[in-house]
Every structure is written in structure tokens, then in C-alpha cells.
């Protein structure tokens, strides 16, 4: 098949690796005793996890009244955090599914960790709506099951129920996708282990042998799962945005929400992947597998989606003015200049202005800038959700019910606690499973490693010193 190829193919696996070295480098972090950095990080996240457990028990024991949410601002930190976490989860599926369909080879370096991140982020997200229900022991009422009350069914017309289906489908499909990809790598870990450790990995690798037919089916399964995960991931945040867009609240009732939420989700998700990858590659010494080229590619996605989000913000403002509808105009006037102006400013600065720095190649390829800006973006995306939810509700139709919202220590505890939960899960994951997809990295070694000797290889390009033009070329 003839297709355009890049004049220079960037090296994605550095250090002239052999297949065995790849195994060695990627499995050994699970075999060594934990490093000091890991122990410190793990203890810290365990502390926050305990805080989470404490504040959740407190909430269930005393009731939702312990939160700052009130009758006017009935969705506050909880739903903000829910949308924030769900958005973070989106990058994992994007990297593993959409980039697989686009045949982007750089995905192999980061897909495993990003998929794991998706699963943990969705777990964190799920905590908020579940505990916001109040009587959490009745949480199973959200599922349609035959019951003795009629049976009385759930409301299939409600976007909140669509959310239940979207999030639970998303979670379980991501889990299948991630685990099926992990099985061959767990077999690699198994075959290096002995004794009890081998027994454990034997169980978890399901008896994988690497037979040709199994690989063929495995690839077929991965491709179809990628194909169906792509519309799934787009649907999930679309449906999350329906929670707002199908209401009749000015500022929420807009058709721009689905694409704007999806772009924002990818934006925040990539920022979180960057935060994790910059740390992971350093701590586990994986700089040769998660290279600067990977980081640069992700930064390009961040500047693209950040700009899309910026356009969406400006479109919202323009349409509010252009609609001539006073309630809509007020909603946006209030967002920009009202009581929560600082949240709007934070959102605009962190999400729209700060990622523009990534137009500079130097900043895109700088570890420190990447790490710093990934944190800034995550703060910005949190502000975005708070602006949409908190600011809008605080100034509704009826001035007599206008209110202000402050989080209580319980809410702060739950939120920071879920960050602890997230890192707790992630740190366990990096200890028990290879954090980079071993089999997939091996399969691209000859075309994307230092060994690549095609006409657009970096070494050849550097040697000839002349510019190769972009041209269609046969690729096998």
C-alpha cells in the first residue's frame, strides 16, 4: 500500500536493544525490591487513601449534610470531581484505541500505563456519584432489575441513567482491553519466575503460550476492541455532558457541550499521562522506551486539544451574546465577572493560555516544562468543571435563592483522598505488571528502534546531511 511517510522516522526505542534486553528492562522493575522513591510515594498515597476512607465513612455515617453542597448549589465538588476524573480516564482509551487505529507506533511506549490510568481514574470517578446518592447501601437501585415494587423500572429516558450505562460499560470494556493486552506480558513475567511467584503469574496469565493462532486471534480481538472502544470513549463524555446539556439551566443547555467535553477530556487525560510518564520513566529508568519523542507527541495532542477547548470557551461566550437571550447572557456574564471570577480566570489561563507554550519545540521537549504544564492543565480542567457546575448553579433564575458554596473539610478530604486512591492503585500496578507493553514494543523494534535502516532512518538522514522530501513510498 502506498502511503506518505515522514522524511525522518523518529527513533522510539533507544539504546540498540535486543529482544532479550527489552524483556530484561521492562520486567525487572517488578522483580527488584522496591526503590526508596517507590516506598515514599506509596506511603504517601496510603496516607491519602486512609484520609479518603475516613472521610467517606464520616459522610455515610453523618449524611450528605456534612458536605458544603446546599439547596441551590446541589451539585458541587462531588460532580466536579466526578467529571474531572472521568475526563482523565479518557486519554488511556484514546492512546490504546484511537492511536491503534491510526497506526501510531509511539502508542506502544505509553499505552499500558495509560490504560491502567483509565481504569483507576474511572474507579475514582465512580466514588462521587455513588456517595452523593446519600443512602449508598441502596446504590444498586440504579440498575434495572426485577424487584418487588411492581417491578418498578429505572427511567431509561434520563441522562443520569445513560451515565450509569456509559460509565459501567466503559469501565468493564477498558478492563477487558487492558487485561487482554497484559496477558502475553504476564506470561513473560511468569516464564522468568520460579516457585510461588511463578504459580501466581501462571494463574494470571491464563496459560498463554504464544502460539501463532493465539497471536492471530489476539490481534484480531485487540483491533475490534479498539474499533468499538473508539466510539465508546467518545460516547462516554458525550453522555456525561448530556447530564448538563439536556437540562434547562442557562449555560448548560448548549449543543456545543458534547464535542467540547470530549476535547477537554482528552486534554486533561493527556496531561495526567504526562504527569505519570515523566515520573515513571525516571523512577523505573525507562527513558529509552518512553523517549522525548513520546513526550513531544503527547504535548502536541495537548496543544491541539487545549486550543479546541479554548475555541469552545470563546464560542460559548459569542453564542451567549449573539443569542439575544438574557438568561444565557447573564449566565456567561456571571461566569466571567461574577462571584467565582477567579475560577473562570484560572480556567482560561491554565487551559487556553498555558498550553500555547507547547508551540515551542524546546518547551515541548523539556521534561520540567512538560511536568509543570501537565499539572497546570489538570488544575485548569478542574476549574473548568467547577465553573460549569458551581458558578452556574450559584446564580440561578431566582435571586432569592442565590447562594455561595465553600467545600467542607470532608469534601476536601474525599477529593484529595481519591488522588491517594489513584496513586495507590497505580503504584501497586507498576510493581506487579510490566508498565510498558513488552510484546508490542518488541514488535516495533525493527521499524522504530535504533536498528531501523530504511531510507528515512535517522542515522542515514544525519549522515547524508541533506533534506529528504516527503514522498509516497511503498511500505510493507
Amino acid at each position: 500500500m502506498s502511503q506518505p511517510v515522514a522524511p525522518v522516522r523518529h527513533v522510539l526505542i533507544e539504546g540498540n536493544k535486543t529482544y532479550h534486553q527489552i524483556t530484561e528492562d521492562l520486567v525487572s522493575p517488578t522483580e527488584r525490591t522496591p526503590t526508596r522513591e517507590w516506598i515514599v510515594a506509596f506511603s504517601l498515597s496510603a496516607v491519602f487513601l486512609s484520609l479518603y476512607l475516613f472521610t467517606i465513612v464520616w459522610t455515610v455515617w453523618k449524611g450528605i449534610g456534612e458536605w458544603g453542597a446546599n439547596r441551590t448549589i446541589n451539585w458541587a465538588w462531588d460532580i466536579t470531581n466526578f467529571v474531572w476524573w472521568i475526563g482523565i480516564g479518557h486519554a488511556g482509551t484514546l492512546i490504546s484505541a484511537i492511536l491503534l487505529l491510526f497506526r501510531q507506533r509511539w502508542r506502544t511506549g505509553v499505552n499500558r500505563a495509560a490504560e491502567a490510568m483509565t481504569i483507576f481514574a474511572v474507579i475514582c470517578a465512580g466514588q462521587f456519584p455513588i456517595f452523593h446518592m446519600g443512602r449508598v447501601w441502596l446504590a444498586f437501585f440504579i440498575f434495572p432489575f426485577p424487584n418487588t415494587r411492581g417491578p418498578l423500572w429505572v427511567n431509561f429516558n434520563s441522562p443520569l441513567l445513560w451515565d450509569v450505562f456509559a460509565i459501567s460499560t466503559y469501565f468493564s470494556v477498558s478492563l477487558l482491553f487492558w487485561y487482554t493486552g497484559l496477558v502475553p506480558d504476564l506470561a513473560t513475567v511468569r516464564d522468568r519466575a520460579t516457585g510461588f511467584r511463578r504459580k501466581v503469574y501462571e494463574t494470571f496469565s491464563f496459560g498463554w503460550t504464544g502460539a501463532a493462532k493465539h497471536w492471530q486471534r489476539w490481534e484480531s480481538l485487540s483491533l475490534v476492541l479498539a474499533g468499538i472502544s473508539t466510539p465508546l470513549v467518545l460516547s462516554v463524555h458525550t453522555i456525561v455532558s448530556f447530564d448538563f446539556a439536556t437540562s434547562v439551566i442557562p449555560g448548560w443547555h448548549t449543543t456545543i457541550f458534547p464535542p467540547y467535553f470530549v476535547a477537554g477530556a482528552i486534554f486533561s487525560g493527556f496531561a495526567m499521562v504526562q504527569t505519570l510518564m515523566v515520573l515513571t520513566r525516571k523512577v523505573l529508568r525507562l527513558e529509552e522506551y518512553i523517549t522525548l519523542n513520546h513526550i513531544e507527541s503527547m504535548n502536541k495532542v495537548i496543544v491541539l486539544t487545549g486550543t479546541i477547548v479554548g475555541v469552545a470557551y470563546l464560542t460559548e461566550l459569542f453564542i451567549a451574546w449573539y443569542s439575544g437571550y438574557v438568561y444565557e447572557q447573564f449566565a456567561f456574564y456571571n461566569r466571567v465577572t461574577g462571584i467565582y471570577w477567579w475560577a473562570y480566570f484560572g480556567m482560561m489561563f491554565c487551559n487556553v493560555v498555558s498550553p500555547q507554550l507547547f508551540w515551542s519545540r524546546k518547551i515541548r521537549r523539556s521534561i520540567w516544562w512538560t511536568f509543570f504544564l501537565s499539572i497546570v492543565v489538570n488544575i485548569g480542567m478542574w476549574f473548568e468543571r467547577f465553573v460549569i457546575i458551581g458558578t452556574t448553579l450559584a446564580r440561578d433564575y431566582l435571586p432569592s435563592s442565590w447562594s455561595y458554596y465553600n467545600p467542607t473539610w470532608v469534601e476536601i478530604g474525599i477529593y484529595t483522598g481519591t488522588i491517594g486512591l489513584f496513586f495507590f492503585c497505580y503504584l501497586i500496578f507498576v510493581r506487579v505488571a510490566p508498565v510498558v507493553a513488552i510484546a508490542e514494543v518488541k514488535s516495533i523494534l525493527k521499524v522504530a528502534g535504533d536498528q531501523y535502516i530504511g531510507p528515512n532512518a535517522r542515522a542515514r538522514h544525519a549522515a547524508s546531511g541533506e533534506k529528504t522530501s516527503v514522498k509516497a513510498e511503498k511500505e510493507d
Binding site: 535486543t18 529482544y19 532479550h20 524483556t23 434495572p144 417491578p151 418498578l152 423500572w153 427511567n155 431509561f156 429516558n157 434520563s158 441522562p159 445513560w162 450505562f165 456509559a166 460499560t169 468493564s172 470494556v173 477487558l176 482491553f177 487482554t180 496477558v183 502475553p184 513473560t188 511468569r190 516464564d191 522468568r192 494463574t203 494470571f204 496469565s205 491464563f206 496459560g207 498463554w208 503460550t209 504464544g210 502460539a211 501463532a212 493462532k213 493465539h214 497471536w215 492471530q216 486471534r217 489476539w218 490481534e219 484480531s220 480481538l221 483491533l223 475490534v224 476492541l225 468499538i228 472502544s229 466510539p231 465508546l232 460516547s235 448530556f242 510484546a439 508490542e440 518488541k442 514488535s443
Partner: protein, 176 residues
């Protein structure tokens, strides 16, 4: 399936290109390959080995269709027959509102159906005994295996391995 003891003669290669060449030779010589194992999917191996394309994706479509039908018909039954309720003055059978859940059920059924089918037809579950010929097959070795139970003609195969540049040739008795 009753376990029986089998003798397996297998050669290990260092590179996927060597493996492909060797499999090509074996197919030309009409050697009866038991299986080929590799640490990662070797592209271009399937046609040489004569493996037909997997039909798993067709099943994915079937499972997805079942999911879509199930989701849509269930909501239809609940809202038109079992317990019709008016929501916001809309018709009982409000099809557009059923689209998101129908879609999610399609994906859910397709993904779970395909994955469970994959593990079942590959004979993979937690607790199955691992059929490992050599620990390095999941690391950096590419393996061609022949079932030589009750056969005395191993010279032919040994010659084949030598000719195609196998790094190692081993004989192993397994209980598969």
C-alpha cells in the same frame, strides 16, 4: 481431554525472519508442523503457515447485534407494556432517548462476548496448566515444534533445523 504423553521436537530461532524462512521451507517440504510460538505477533507468518483469518470479528458483530436488540427491546417492553409512564409529556415509546443505552449495550455485549470467546477457543483460563516448551519463548526465542510421538524419523527434522539455522534443537516429553 485425556492427558497423554507426547514427544515434541522443537527448534528455537533467534529472529523472526529466520523463523519465517524456516516455516516456508517446512511447508514446502510438507513437514507436519505442530505449532509455532513467538514472543510477539510475527506479521506475515499466518499466510506462510496457512492459517485462515480469524473469524472472531464476525462473532463480535453478532454479539453486538444481540446487545443492541436486547437493550432496545427491553426498554421498549418496559415503557410500552410493563409499566408505561409519561416523562415530560413525551410518547411512551420515545425512541431517541433509547439510543444512548442501546449503543452502550451493543458495545458491552460485543466486547464481553468476543473476549470470553477468545479465551474459550484458545483454552485459556485461570488455572489451566501452562504448556511451556521453553521459558525463553516469551522472551526472545521463536519456536517451531513437531510432534514426534512414535516416530523414528527424526533425522529428517534435525536436518531441517540445521539447514534453516535453528539456534537450538530440543526434544521434550510433555503431557498435554
Amino acid at each position: 481431554m485425556a492427558e497423554k504423553s507426547r514427544k515434541v521436537l522443537f527448534g528455537l530461532y533467534n529472529d523472526e525472519e529466520d523463523l519465517k524462512t524456516a516455516v516456508k521451507t517446512a511447508m514446502k517440504d510438507h513437514l507436519d508442523i505442530m505449532d509455532v510460538y513467538s514472543p510477539f505477533p510475527v506479521h506475515g507468518l499466518d499466510p506462510i503457515l496457512g492459517l485462515k483469518e480469524s473469524r472472531l470479528h464476525i462473532l463480535g458483530f453478532v454479539y453486538g447485534s444481540i446487545g443492541a436488540m436486547f437493550g432496545f427491546l427491553f426498554m421498549t417492553w418496559v415503557f410500552t407494556t410493563d409499566w408505561p409512564i409519561v416523562f415530560g409529556g413525551k410518547p411512551f415509546w420515545s425512541v431517541p432517548a433509547f439510543i444512548p443505552i442501546t449503543f452502550e449495550m451493543t458495545i458491552l455485549f460485543a466486547a464481553w462476548g468476543m473476549t470470553l470467546t477468545f479465551y474459550t477457543i484458545c483454552g485459556m483460563w485461570p488455572g489451566v496448566s501452562t504448556k511451556t516448551l521453553d521459558n525463553r519463548i516469551t522472551d526472545d526465542k521463536f519456536c517451531i515444534a513437531f510432534d514426534v510421538t512414535g516416530s523414528n524419523d527424526q533425522d529428517n527434522l534435525n536436518r531441517f533445523f540445521k539447514q534453516t539455522g535453528a539456534a537450538e534443537v530440543n526434544l521434550k516429553t510433555v503431557n498435554w
